[in-house]
Protein backbone atom coordinates (compact mmCIF):
# COMPACT_ATOMS: atom_id res chain seq x y z
CA UNK A 1 0.00 0.00 0.00
CA UNK A 2 2.35 2.70 -1.14
CA UNK A 3 1.66 6.37 -1.69
CA UNK A 4 2.16 5.86 -5.41
CA UNK A 5 -0.54 3.24 -5.46
CA UNK A 6 -2.96 5.49 -3.60
CA UNK A 7 -2.37 8.44 -5.92
CA UNK A 8 -2.73 6.31 -9.03
CA UNK A 9 -5.81 4.56 -7.68
CA UNK A 10 -7.44 7.90 -6.87
CA UNK A 11 -6.60 9.20 -10.34
CA UNK A 12 -7.99 6.12 -12.03
CA UNK A 13 -11.15 6.16 -10.00
CA UNK A 14 -11.66 9.86 -10.60
CA UNK A 15 -11.22 9.27 -14.32
CA UNK A 16 -13.66 6.39 -14.49
CA UNK A 17 -16.31 8.02 -12.33
CA UNK A 18 -16.06 11.21 -14.36
CA UNK A 19 -16.28 9.18 -17.55
CA UNK A 20 -19.54 7.67 -16.41
CA UNK A 21 -21.07 10.79 -14.93
CA UNK A 22 -20.24 13.81 -17.11
CA UNK A 23 -22.82 15.38 -19.34
CA UNK A 24 -20.72 16.08 -22.41
CA UNK A 25 -19.77 12.89 -24.22
CA UNK A 26 -16.41 14.23 -25.33
CA UNK A 27 -15.58 15.11 -21.75
CA UNK A 28 -16.57 11.57 -20.82
CA UNK A 29 -14.11 10.13 -23.31
CA UNK A 30 -11.33 12.48 -22.21
CA UNK A 31 -11.92 11.50 -18.59
CA UNK A 32 -11.93 7.88 -19.68
CA UNK A 33 -8.47 8.25 -21.20
CA UNK A 34 -7.31 9.54 -17.84
CA UNK A 35 -8.70 6.38 -16.27
CA UNK A 36 -7.02 4.20 -18.87
CA UNK A 37 -3.71 5.98 -18.39
CA UNK A 38 -4.02 5.49 -14.65
CA UNK A 39 -4.64 1.78 -15.18
CA UNK A 40 -1.58 1.58 -17.42
CA UNK A 41 0.47 3.23 -14.69
CA UNK A 42 -0.86 0.68 -12.21
CA UNK A 43 0.26 -2.11 -14.52
CA UNK A 44 3.72 -0.55 -14.63
CA UNK A 45 3.67 -0.38 -10.86
CA UNK A 46 2.91 -4.08 -10.82
CA UNK A 47 5.90 -4.72 -13.08
CA UNK A 48 3.96 -5.57 -16.22
CA UNK A 49 5.66 -3.17 -18.65
CA UNK A 50 4.49 -4.81 -21.81
CA UNK A 51 0.82 -4.84 -20.80
CA UNK A 52 1.05 -1.27 -19.53
CA UNK A 53 2.34 0.09 -22.83
CA UNK A 54 -0.08 -2.04 -24.78
CA UNK A 55 -2.86 -0.60 -22.65
CA UNK A 56 -1.85 2.96 -23.59
CA UNK A 57 -1.37 2.05 -27.24
CA UNK A 58 -4.71 0.25 -27.56
CA UNK A 59 -6.99 2.19 -25.25
CA UNK A 60 -5.69 5.75 -25.43
CA UNK A 61 -4.38 5.53 -28.97
CA UNK A 62 -7.17 3.53 -30.55
CA UNK A 63 -10.32 2.92 -28.52
CA UNK A 64 -10.65 6.47 -27.20
CA UNK A 65 -9.98 7.97 -30.62
CA UNK A 66 -12.47 5.56 -32.16
CA UNK A 67 -15.09 6.55 -29.60
CA UNK A 68 -14.41 10.19 -30.30
CA UNK A 69 -14.83 9.60 -34.02
CA UNK A 70 -18.13 7.86 -33.48
CA UNK A 71 -19.31 10.69 -31.23
CA UNK A 72 -18.44 13.22 -33.92
CA UNK A 73 -20.08 11.13 -36.63
CA UNK A 74 -23.29 10.67 -34.68
CA UNK A 75 -23.31 14.37 -33.75
CA UNK A 76 -23.81 13.61 -30.10
CA UNK A 77 -21.05 15.96 -28.96
CA UNK A 78 -21.96 18.97 -26.92
CA UNK A 79 -23.92 19.12 -23.70
CA UNK A 80 -27.01 16.96 -23.77
CA UNK A 81 -30.32 18.71 -23.64
CA UNK A 82 -32.26 15.77 -22.25
CA UNK A 83 -31.47 13.93 -19.00
CA UNK A 84 -28.33 11.87 -19.39
CA UNK A 85 -29.47 8.99 -17.26
CA UNK A 86 -32.12 6.56 -18.35
CA UNK A 87 -35.45 6.16 -16.61
CA UNK A 88 -34.34 3.14 -14.62
CA UNK A 89 -31.18 4.72 -13.28
CA UNK A 90 -32.24 3.93 -9.74
CA UNK A 91 -32.37 0.17 -10.36
CA UNK A 92 -29.08 0.28 -12.23
CA UNK A 93 -27.18 2.05 -9.50
CA UNK A 94 -28.64 -0.20 -6.82
CA UNK A 95 -27.52 -3.26 -8.77
CA UNK A 96 -24.02 -1.82 -9.25
CA UNK A 97 -23.74 -0.94 -5.58
CA UNK A 98 -24.89 -4.41 -4.63
CA UNK A 99 -22.29 -5.97 -6.90
CA UNK A 100 -19.59 -3.85 -5.32
CA UNK A 101 -20.69 -4.75 -1.80
CA UNK A 102 -20.64 -8.43 -2.62
CA UNK A 103 -17.23 -8.24 -4.31
CA UNK A 104 -15.69 -6.22 -1.50
CA UNK A 105 -17.10 -8.57 1.05
CA UNK A 106 -15.70 -11.52 -0.81
CA UNK A 107 -12.27 -9.93 -1.12
CA UNK A 108 -12.10 -9.01 2.53
CA UNK A 109 -13.33 -12.38 3.68
CA UNK A 110 -10.90 -14.31 1.49
CA UNK A 111 -7.48 -15.33 2.62
CA UNK A 112 -5.61 -12.83 0.41
CA UNK A 113 -5.35 -10.23 3.10
CA UNK A 114 -3.16 -12.39 5.28
CA UNK A 115 -1.18 -14.01 2.47
CA UNK A 116 2.63 -13.82 2.40
CA UNK A 117 3.69 -12.04 -0.77
CA UNK A 118 6.25 -13.40 -3.22
CA UNK A 119 9.24 -11.21 -4.12
CA UNK A 120 8.64 -8.60 -6.86
CA UNK A 121 9.22 -9.75 -10.44
CA UNK A 122 9.62 -8.01 -13.77
CA UNK A 123 7.91 -9.40 -16.82
CA UNK A 124 10.56 -8.94 -19.49
CA UNK A 125 9.45 -8.77 -23.10
CA UNK A 126 11.49 -11.78 -24.13
CA UNK A 127 9.67 -14.43 -22.03
CA UNK A 128 6.34 -12.97 -23.12
CA UNK A 129 7.33 -13.36 -26.75
CA UNK A 130 8.55 -16.87 -26.09
CA UNK A 131 5.32 -17.79 -24.36
CA UNK A 132 3.23 -16.31 -27.15
CA UNK A 133 5.17 -18.21 -29.77
CA UNK A 134 5.27 -21.54 -27.94
CA UNK A 135 2.75 -22.23 -25.21
CA UNK A 136 0.11 -19.78 -26.37
CA UNK A 137 0.52 -20.01 -30.12
CA UNK A 138 -2.96 -21.41 -30.72
CA UNK A 139 -4.77 -18.70 -28.75
CA UNK A 140 -2.60 -16.13 -30.55
CA UNK A 141 -3.65 -17.45 -33.94
CA UNK A 142 -7.28 -17.49 -32.88
CA UNK A 143 -6.87 -13.94 -31.63
CA UNK A 144 -5.52 -12.94 -35.01
CA UNK A 145 -8.52 -14.53 -36.66
CA UNK A 146 -10.87 -12.77 -34.26
CA UNK A 147 -9.25 -9.39 -34.89
CA UNK A 148 -9.47 -9.88 -38.65
CA UNK A 149 -13.10 -10.89 -38.37
CA UNK A 150 -13.79 -7.91 -36.11
CA UNK A 151 -12.10 -5.54 -38.55
CA UNK A 152 -14.08 -6.85 -41.50
CA UNK A 153 -17.24 -6.77 -39.42
CA UNK A 154 -16.65 -3.20 -38.29
CA UNK A 155 -15.93 -2.09 -41.84
CA UNK A 156 -19.06 -3.78 -43.15
CA UNK A 157 -21.17 -2.29 -40.38
CA UNK A 158 -19.85 1.22 -40.80
CA UNK A 159 -19.85 1.18 -44.59
CA UNK A 160 -22.34 3.36 -46.40
CA UNK A 161 -25.39 1.38 -47.28
CA UNK A 162 -26.29 1.12 -50.93
CA UNK A 163 -28.24 4.12 -52.09
CA UNK A 164 -31.82 3.08 -52.46
CA UNK A 165 -33.21 4.86 -55.42
CA UNK A 166 -36.82 5.79 -54.86
Amino acid sequence: MTVTFLILAALTLAGTVAAMAMRNLIHCVLALTLGFAGLAALYLLLGAQFVGFTQVLVYVGAVAILAVFVIMMTQSAGPAMQPIFSSFWMTGSVVAAAVFVVLAWAICRSGFASQVLPPPVEAAVHPIGDALMHGYVLPLEIMGLLLTAAMIGAVVLAMHEKRRTP
Binding site: F50, F53, V56, V60, A62, V68, V125
Partner: protein
Protein backbone atom coordinates in the same frame (compact mmCIF):
# COMPACT_ATOMS: atom_id res chain seq x y z
CA UNK B 1 47.92 5.40 -29.44
CA UNK B 2 48.65 4.82 -25.81
CA UNK B 3 46.32 3.50 -23.22
CA UNK B 4 46.04 6.91 -21.54
CA UNK B 5 44.77 8.41 -24.77
CA UNK B 6 42.05 5.82 -24.93
CA UNK B 7 41.17 6.69 -21.39
CA UNK B 8 41.07 10.40 -22.19
CA UNK B 9 38.79 9.77 -25.16
CA UNK B 10 36.58 7.61 -23.02
CA UNK B 11 36.44 10.30 -20.36
CA UNK B 12 35.35 12.93 -22.85
CA UNK B 13 32.77 10.55 -24.20
CA UNK B 14 31.39 9.82 -20.76
CA UNK B 15 31.84 13.34 -19.35
CA UNK B 16 28.13 13.92 -18.84
CA UNK B 17 27.54 10.52 -17.29
CA UNK B 18 30.42 10.84 -14.81
CA UNK B 19 29.60 14.41 -13.88
CA UNK B 20 26.01 13.40 -13.21
CA UNK B 21 27.25 10.62 -10.94
CA UNK B 22 29.55 13.02 -9.15
CA UNK B 23 26.76 15.54 -8.60
CA UNK B 24 24.42 12.90 -7.25
CA UNK B 25 26.90 10.94 -5.11
CA UNK B 26 26.99 13.59 -2.36
CA UNK B 27 23.27 13.25 -1.72
CA UNK B 28 21.79 10.75 0.72
CA UNK B 29 21.19 7.34 -0.81
CA UNK B 30 17.41 7.50 -1.01
CA UNK B 31 17.50 10.70 -3.09
CA UNK B 32 20.17 9.56 -5.50
CA UNK B 33 18.09 7.83 -8.10
CA UNK B 34 15.35 10.45 -8.16
CA UNK B 35 17.78 13.36 -8.34
CA UNK B 36 19.78 11.76 -11.12
CA UNK B 37 16.53 11.27 -13.02
CA UNK B 38 15.61 14.91 -12.46
CA UNK B 39 19.03 15.97 -13.70
CA UNK B 40 18.57 13.91 -16.87
CA UNK B 41 15.09 15.30 -17.45
CA UNK B 42 16.36 18.86 -17.09
CA UNK B 43 19.17 18.09 -19.49
CA UNK B 44 16.78 16.60 -22.05
CA UNK B 45 14.32 19.50 -21.79
CA UNK B 46 17.05 22.10 -22.12
CA UNK B 47 18.94 20.43 -24.94
CA UNK B 48 15.91 19.68 -27.09
CA UNK B 49 14.30 23.06 -26.45
CA UNK B 50 17.58 24.60 -27.57
CA UNK B 51 17.60 22.35 -30.61
CA UNK B 52 14.06 23.54 -31.34
CA UNK B 53 15.23 27.14 -31.18
CA UNK B 54 18.15 26.42 -33.48
CA UNK B 55 15.95 24.48 -35.87
CA UNK B 56 13.47 27.32 -36.26
CA UNK B 57 16.31 29.62 -37.30
CA UNK B 58 17.87 26.99 -39.53
CA UNK B 59 14.54 26.26 -41.16
CA UNK B 60 13.74 29.89 -41.82
CA UNK B 61 17.21 30.66 -43.08
CA UNK B 62 17.37 27.48 -45.14
CA UNK B 63 13.98 28.03 -46.69
CA UNK B 64 14.95 31.63 -47.32
CA UNK B 65 18.11 30.66 -49.14
CA UNK B 66 16.24 28.06 -51.17
CA UNK B 67 13.81 30.77 -52.14
CA UNK B 68 16.60 33.27 -52.79
CA UNK B 69 15.90 35.35 -49.71
CA UNK B 70 18.05 36.11 -46.69
CA UNK B 71 15.78 34.77 -43.99
CA UNK B 72 16.02 36.23 -40.49
CA UNK B 73 19.25 38.18 -40.11
CA UNK B 74 18.48 41.06 -37.80
CA UNK B 75 18.49 39.72 -34.24
CA UNK B 76 21.95 38.85 -33.01
CA UNK B 77 24.79 37.56 -35.19
CA UNK B 78 23.33 36.33 -38.50
CA UNK B 79 19.88 36.35 -36.92
CA UNK B 80 20.61 33.45 -34.60
CA UNK B 81 18.89 35.13 -31.66
CA UNK B 82 15.65 35.28 -33.60
CA UNK B 83 14.00 32.53 -31.48
CA UNK B 84 14.64 34.71 -28.43
CA UNK B 85 12.74 37.54 -30.05
CA UNK B 86 10.01 35.12 -31.12
CA UNK B 87 9.77 33.76 -27.60
CA UNK B 88 9.47 37.23 -26.08
CA UNK B 89 6.86 38.10 -28.65
CA UNK B 90 4.78 35.00 -28.06
CA UNK B 91 4.99 35.47 -24.29
CA UNK B 92 3.84 39.07 -24.44
CA UNK B 93 1.04 38.48 -26.90
CA UNK B 94 -2.50 38.39 -25.67
CA UNK B 95 -3.76 34.89 -25.11
CA UNK B 96 -7.09 34.80 -26.87
CA UNK B 97 -9.56 32.08 -26.04
CA UNK B 98 -12.81 31.94 -28.02
CA UNK B 99 -15.84 32.68 -25.88
CA UNK B 100 -17.56 29.43 -26.74
CA UNK B 101 -14.43 27.31 -26.37
CA UNK B 102 -14.15 24.59 -23.80
CA UNK B 103 -11.78 26.52 -21.55
CA UNK B 104 -10.16 23.63 -19.68
CA UNK B 105 -9.65 21.34 -22.64
CA UNK B 106 -8.48 24.29 -24.70
CA UNK B 107 -5.81 24.94 -22.10
CA UNK B 108 -4.83 21.31 -21.59
CA UNK B 109 -4.34 20.42 -25.25
CA UNK B 110 -0.99 22.19 -25.88
CA UNK B 111 0.30 21.10 -22.48
CA UNK B 112 -0.52 17.48 -23.22
CA UNK B 113 1.05 17.73 -26.66
CA UNK B 114 4.36 19.05 -25.35
CA UNK B 115 4.30 16.57 -22.48
CA UNK B 116 3.72 13.63 -24.79
CA UNK B 117 6.51 14.82 -27.07
CA UNK B 118 8.96 15.14 -24.20
CA UNK B 119 7.97 11.76 -22.74
CA UNK B 120 9.16 10.08 -25.92
CA UNK B 121 12.76 11.16 -25.24
CA UNK B 122 12.95 8.97 -22.15
CA UNK B 123 13.99 5.90 -24.11
CA UNK B 124 16.18 7.52 -26.78
CA UNK B 125 19.88 6.90 -26.22
CA UNK B 126 21.59 10.16 -27.14
CA UNK B 127 25.05 8.80 -26.44
CA UNK B 128 26.89 5.87 -24.96
CA UNK B 129 25.31 5.15 -21.55
CA UNK B 130 23.21 8.26 -22.01
CA UNK B 131 19.60 7.19 -21.80
CA UNK B 132 17.08 8.20 -19.19
CA UNK B 133 15.54 4.76 -18.70
CA UNK B 134 16.50 1.57 -20.40
CA UNK B 135 13.07 -0.02 -20.67
CA UNK B 136 13.03 -3.49 -22.07
CA UNK B 137 9.91 -2.54 -24.02
CA UNK B 138 11.44 0.78 -25.12
CA UNK B 139 10.21 0.84 -28.70
CA UNK B 140 6.69 -0.06 -27.58
CA UNK B 141 6.83 2.74 -25.02
CA UNK B 142 7.85 5.17 -27.75
CA UNK B 143 4.85 4.35 -29.92
CA UNK B 144 2.48 4.25 -26.94
CA UNK B 145 3.51 7.76 -25.93
CA UNK B 146 3.26 8.85 -29.54
CA UNK B 147 -0.40 7.91 -29.55
CA UNK B 148 -1.04 10.55 -26.87
CA UNK B 149 -0.29 13.17 -29.49
CA UNK B 150 -3.44 12.23 -31.39
CA UNK B 151 -5.48 12.83 -28.28
CA UNK B 152 -3.89 16.25 -27.76
CA UNK B 153 -4.60 17.15 -31.36
CA UNK B 154 -8.20 16.12 -31.01
CA UNK B 155 -8.57 18.10 -27.80
CA UNK B 156 -7.20 21.20 -29.51
CA UNK B 157 -9.39 20.83 -32.54
CA UNK B 158 -12.58 20.05 -30.69
CA UNK B 159 -12.27 22.50 -27.83
CA UNK B 160 -11.78 25.50 -30.12
CA UNK B 161 -15.37 25.23 -31.36
CA UNK B 162 -14.29 26.16 -34.83
CA UNK B 163 -15.24 23.95 -37.74
CA UNK B 164 -11.97 24.56 -39.53
CA UNK B 165 -10.01 23.44 -36.50
CA UNK B 166 -12.24 20.41 -36.05
CA UNK B 167 -11.76 19.53 -39.70
CA UNK B 168 -8.00 19.94 -39.26
CA UNK B 169 -8.00 17.78 -36.14
CA UNK B 170 -9.99 15.06 -37.86
CA UNK B 171 -7.64 15.14 -40.82
CA UNK B 172 -4.64 15.04 -38.52
CA UNK B 173 -5.96 12.07 -36.55
CA UNK B 174 -6.93 10.13 -39.65
CA UNK B 175 -3.50 10.80 -41.11
CA UNK B 176 -1.61 9.93 -37.94
CA UNK B 177 -3.49 6.67 -37.45
CA UNK B 178 -3.02 5.71 -41.08
CA UNK B 179 0.69 6.37 -41.00
CA UNK B 180 1.24 4.89 -37.57
CA UNK B 181 0.64 1.45 -39.05
CA UNK B 182 3.51 1.65 -41.59
CA UNK B 183 5.64 3.44 -39.01
CA UNK B 184 5.34 0.58 -36.55
CA UNK B 185 5.60 -2.09 -39.23
CA UNK B 186 8.75 -0.48 -40.64
CA UNK B 187 10.39 -0.54 -37.24
CA UNK B 188 9.37 -4.12 -36.55
CA UNK B 189 11.98 -5.21 -39.11
CA UNK B 190 14.71 -3.93 -36.84
CA UNK B 191 13.10 -5.48 -33.76
CA UNK B 192 13.07 -8.77 -35.62
CA UNK B 193 16.74 -8.48 -36.50
CA UNK B 194 17.86 -7.25 -33.10
CA UNK B 195 15.61 -9.56 -31.13
CA UNK B 196 14.91 -6.86 -28.61
CA UNK B 197 12.49 -4.02 -27.93
CA UNK B 198 15.09 -2.14 -25.95
CA UNK B 199 16.52 0.89 -27.74
CA UNK B 200 19.83 0.54 -25.94
CA UNK B 201 20.46 -3.00 -27.08
CA UNK B 202 19.34 -2.12 -30.61
CA UNK B 203 22.02 0.56 -30.76
CA UNK B 204 24.59 -1.68 -29.11
CA UNK B 205 24.03 -4.24 -31.84
CA UNK B 206 24.86 -1.67 -34.50
CA UNK B 207 27.89 -0.19 -32.73
CA UNK B 208 30.41 -2.71 -33.93
CA UNK B 209 32.51 -2.72 -37.09
CA UNK B 210 33.74 -5.05 -39.81
CA UNK B 211 37.00 -3.50 -40.87
CA UNK B 212 36.06 0.16 -40.93
CA UNK B 213 32.44 -0.43 -41.90
CA UNK B 214 29.71 -0.23 -39.27
CA UNK B 215 26.91 -2.72 -38.78
CA UNK B 216 24.09 -0.25 -39.20
CA UNK B 217 20.82 -1.74 -40.25
CA UNK B 218 20.45 0.80 -43.03
CA UNK B 219 23.24 -0.96 -44.92
CA UNK B 220 21.08 -3.95 -45.74
CA UNK B 221 18.36 -4.03 -48.40
CA UNK B 222 15.56 -4.43 -45.90
CA UNK B 223 17.18 -1.89 -43.60
CA UNK B 224 17.40 0.70 -46.32
CA UNK B 225 13.83 0.09 -47.44
CA UNK B 226 12.72 0.16 -43.83
CA UNK B 227 14.54 3.41 -43.24
CA UNK B 228 13.00 5.03 -46.31
CA UNK B 229 9.52 3.84 -45.37
CA UNK B 230 10.03 4.89 -41.78
CA UNK B 231 11.12 8.37 -42.82
CA UNK B 232 8.14 8.80 -45.15
CA UNK B 233 5.79 7.70 -42.39
CA UNK B 234 7.62 9.93 -39.93
CA UNK B 235 7.14 12.90 -42.24
CA UNK B 236 3.42 12.20 -42.22
CA UNK B 237 3.35 11.58 -38.48
CA UNK B 238 4.98 14.91 -37.75
CA UNK B 239 2.75 16.76 -40.25
CA UNK B 240 5.61 17.98 -42.37
CA UNK B 241 5.44 18.92 -46.04
CA UNK B 242 4.35 17.26 -48.34
CA UNK B 243 2.01 15.66 -45.81
CA UNK B 244 1.13 18.86 -43.96
CA UNK B 245 -2.57 18.67 -44.73
CA UNK B 246 -3.77 19.00 -41.13
CA UNK B 247 -2.39 22.52 -41.08
CA UNK B 248 -2.68 23.15 -44.81
CA UNK B 249 -2.79 26.90 -44.83
CA UNK B 250 -4.42 27.27 -48.20
CA UNK B 251 -7.27 24.90 -47.39
CA UNK B 252 -8.11 24.90 -43.72
CA UNK B 253 -5.95 27.86 -42.69
CA UNK B 254 -3.98 26.42 -39.77
CA UNK B 255 -5.86 23.28 -38.87
CA UNK B 256 -6.36 22.42 -35.27
CA UNK B 257 -4.47 25.35 -33.80
CA UNK B 258 -6.31 28.07 -35.65
CA UNK B 259 -7.81 29.46 -32.43
CA UNK B 260 -4.58 29.45 -30.47
CA UNK B 261 -2.47 32.51 -29.94
CA UNK B 262 0.45 33.71 -27.91
CA UNK B 263 2.32 31.22 -25.83
CA UNK B 264 -0.10 28.35 -26.37
CA UNK B 265 0.52 28.65 -30.09
CA UNK B 266 4.24 28.57 -29.38
CA UNK B 267 3.71 25.42 -27.34
CA UNK B 268 2.01 23.78 -30.31
CA UNK B 269 4.89 24.78 -32.47
CA UNK B 270 7.30 23.35 -29.92
CA UNK B 271 5.30 20.13 -29.69
CA UNK B 272 5.28 19.67 -33.45
CA UNK B 273 9.02 20.12 -33.71
CA UNK B 274 9.72 17.92 -30.71
CA UNK B 275 7.64 15.22 -32.34
CA UNK B 276 9.68 15.58 -35.50
CA UNK B 277 12.95 15.33 -33.54
CA UNK B 278 11.68 12.33 -31.63
CA UNK B 279 10.70 10.36 -34.73
CA UNK B 280 13.96 11.34 -36.43
CA UNK B 281 15.89 10.26 -33.35
CA UNK B 282 13.97 6.97 -33.40
CA UNK B 283 14.93 6.49 -37.05
CA UNK B 284 18.55 7.11 -36.10
CA UNK B 285 18.31 4.67 -33.21
CA UNK B 286 16.70 1.98 -35.29
CA UNK B 287 18.51 2.28 -38.59
CA UNK B 288 21.43 4.69 -38.44
CA UNK B 289 23.29 3.18 -35.54
CA UNK B 290 22.20 5.67 -32.88
CA UNK B 291 25.25 7.32 -31.36
CA UNK B 292 27.72 5.03 -33.17
CA UNK B 293 30.34 6.59 -35.41
CA UNK B 294 30.02 5.84 -39.13
CA UNK B 295 33.59 4.49 -39.41
CA UNK B 296 35.65 2.66 -36.89
CA UNK B 297 38.48 5.19 -37.10
CA UNK B 298 36.11 7.99 -36.09
CA UNK B 299 35.13 6.53 -32.74
CA UNK B 300 37.32 9.06 -30.93
CA UNK B 301 34.65 11.70 -31.53
CA UNK B 302 32.22 11.63 -28.57
CA UNK B 303 29.14 9.55 -29.15
CA UNK B 304 26.61 12.29 -28.33
CA UNK B 305 28.12 14.48 -31.04
CA UNK B 306 27.49 11.74 -33.58
CA UNK B 307 23.90 11.41 -32.44
CA UNK B 308 23.20 15.12 -32.80
CA UNK B 309 25.05 15.32 -36.09
CA UNK B 310 22.79 12.64 -37.51
CA UNK B 311 19.73 14.33 -36.03
CA UNK B 312 20.60 17.68 -37.56
CA UNK B 313 21.24 15.99 -40.90
CA UNK B 314 17.77 14.46 -40.90
CA UNK B 315 16.24 17.80 -39.87
CA UNK B 316 18.01 19.46 -42.77
CA UNK B 317 16.52 16.89 -45.12
CA UNK B 318 13.09 17.66 -43.70
CA UNK B 319 13.66 21.36 -44.37
CA UNK B 320 14.90 20.67 -47.87
CA UNK B 321 11.80 18.64 -48.71
CA UNK B 322 9.57 21.33 -47.25
CA UNK B 323 11.19 23.91 -49.47
CA UNK B 324 10.51 21.92 -52.60
CA UNK B 325 7.31 19.94 -52.65
CA UNK B 326 3.66 20.88 -52.94
CA UNK B 327 1.12 19.22 -50.71
CA UNK B 328 -0.82 16.06 -51.42
CA UNK B 329 -4.59 15.86 -51.27
CA UNK B 330 -6.40 13.97 -48.52
CA UNK B 331 -7.54 11.04 -50.67
CA UNK B 332 -4.12 10.76 -52.30
CA UNK B 333 -2.51 10.77 -48.90
CA UNK B 334 -4.76 7.99 -47.67
CA UNK B 335 -4.37 5.84 -50.75
CA UNK B 336 -0.62 6.30 -50.52
CA UNK B 337 -0.67 5.04 -46.94
CA UNK B 338 -2.85 2.02 -47.55
CA UNK B 339 -1.95 1.10 -51.11
CA UNK B 340 1.77 1.72 -51.09
CA UNK B 341 3.18 2.08 -47.59
CA UNK B 342 1.32 -0.79 -45.95
CA UNK B 343 2.08 -3.46 -48.61
CA UNK B 344 5.67 -2.30 -48.81
CA UNK B 345 6.25 -2.53 -45.07
CA UNK B 346 4.64 -5.99 -44.96
CA UNK B 347 6.81 -7.07 -47.87
CA UNK B 348 9.83 -5.66 -46.09
CA UNK B 349 9.09 -7.93 -43.13
CA UNK B 350 9.13 -10.87 -45.49
CA UNK B 351 12.36 -9.71 -47.11
CA UNK B 352 13.99 -9.38 -43.71
CA UNK B 353 13.01 -12.99 -43.04
CA UNK B 354 14.48 -14.11 -46.37
CA UNK B 355 17.68 -12.23 -45.58
CA UNK B 356 17.87 -13.92 -42.22
CA UNK B 357 17.58 -17.43 -43.60
CA UNK B 358 19.69 -17.12 -46.74
CA UNK B 359 23.45 -17.69 -46.64
CA UNK B 360 25.52 -14.52 -46.73
CA UNK B 361 26.83 -13.46 -50.12
CA UNK B 362 26.00 -11.55 -53.24
CA UNK B 363 23.02 -13.78 -54.08
CA UNK B 364 21.28 -12.75 -50.89
CA UNK B 365 21.72 -9.10 -51.81
CA UNK B 366 20.38 -9.58 -55.31
CA UNK B 367 17.37 -11.62 -54.22
CA UNK B 368 16.39 -9.16 -51.52
CA UNK B 369 16.80 -6.10 -53.74
CA UNK B 370 14.78 -7.74 -56.49
CA UNK B 371 12.09 -8.69 -53.99
CA UNK B 372 11.84 -5.05 -52.89
CA UNK B 373 12.26 -3.10 -56.11
CA UNK B 374 9.91 -5.01 -58.37
CA UNK B 375 6.85 -4.70 -56.10
CA UNK B 376 7.71 -1.04 -55.41
CA UNK B 377 7.55 -0.29 -59.13
CA UNK B 378 4.35 -2.30 -59.53
CA UNK B 379 2.71 -0.61 -56.57
CA UNK B 380 3.64 2.88 -57.73
CA UNK B 381 2.15 2.01 -61.13
CA UNK B 382 -1.06 0.88 -59.50
CA UNK B 383 -1.27 4.15 -57.55
CA UNK B 384 -1.67 5.99 -60.83
CA UNK B 385 -4.14 3.59 -62.35
CA UNK B 386 -7.45 5.04 -63.41
CA UNK B 387 -6.01 8.52 -63.43
CA UNK B 388 -3.11 8.38 -65.79
CA UNK B 389 -0.90 11.36 -65.29
CA UNK B 390 2.12 12.13 -67.31
CA UNK B 391 4.13 15.00 -68.70
CA UNK B 392 2.13 16.30 -71.65
CA UNK B 393 3.02 17.76 -74.99
CA UNK B 394 1.17 20.74 -76.36
CA UNK B 395 0.19 21.85 -79.81
CA UNK B 396 0.53 25.39 -81.03
CA UNK B 397 -1.67 27.48 -83.29
CA UNK B 398 -0.02 29.96 -85.62
Amino acid sequence: MTLSMFQAIDQIDQIFVTSQHRLVSDLPAEFQSISSAILSVIAIVLVFALLFAITTVLERKGLGRMQNRYGPNRVGPCGFFQPLADGVKSLTKEDLVPRTADQLVHFLAPVLLVMAAFLAYAVLPVGRNMVLVNLNAGVLYFFAVGSLVELAVFMAGWSSRNKYSLLGAMRAIAQMISYEVPLVLASIVVIMAAGSLSTVSIVDMQASYTGIWPHWFVFTPWGFAGFALFMIAATAESNRSPFDLPEGESEIIAGYYIEYSGFKFALFFLGEYLGMFATSAMAITLFLGGWAAPFSFLTWIPSYLWFFAKLVLLILIFIWIRGTLPRLRMDQLMSFAWQFMLPMTLLNLFVAGVWHFMPAGIVRWLVCIALLVAPAILLSRSLKQGKKFAVRHYRFAE
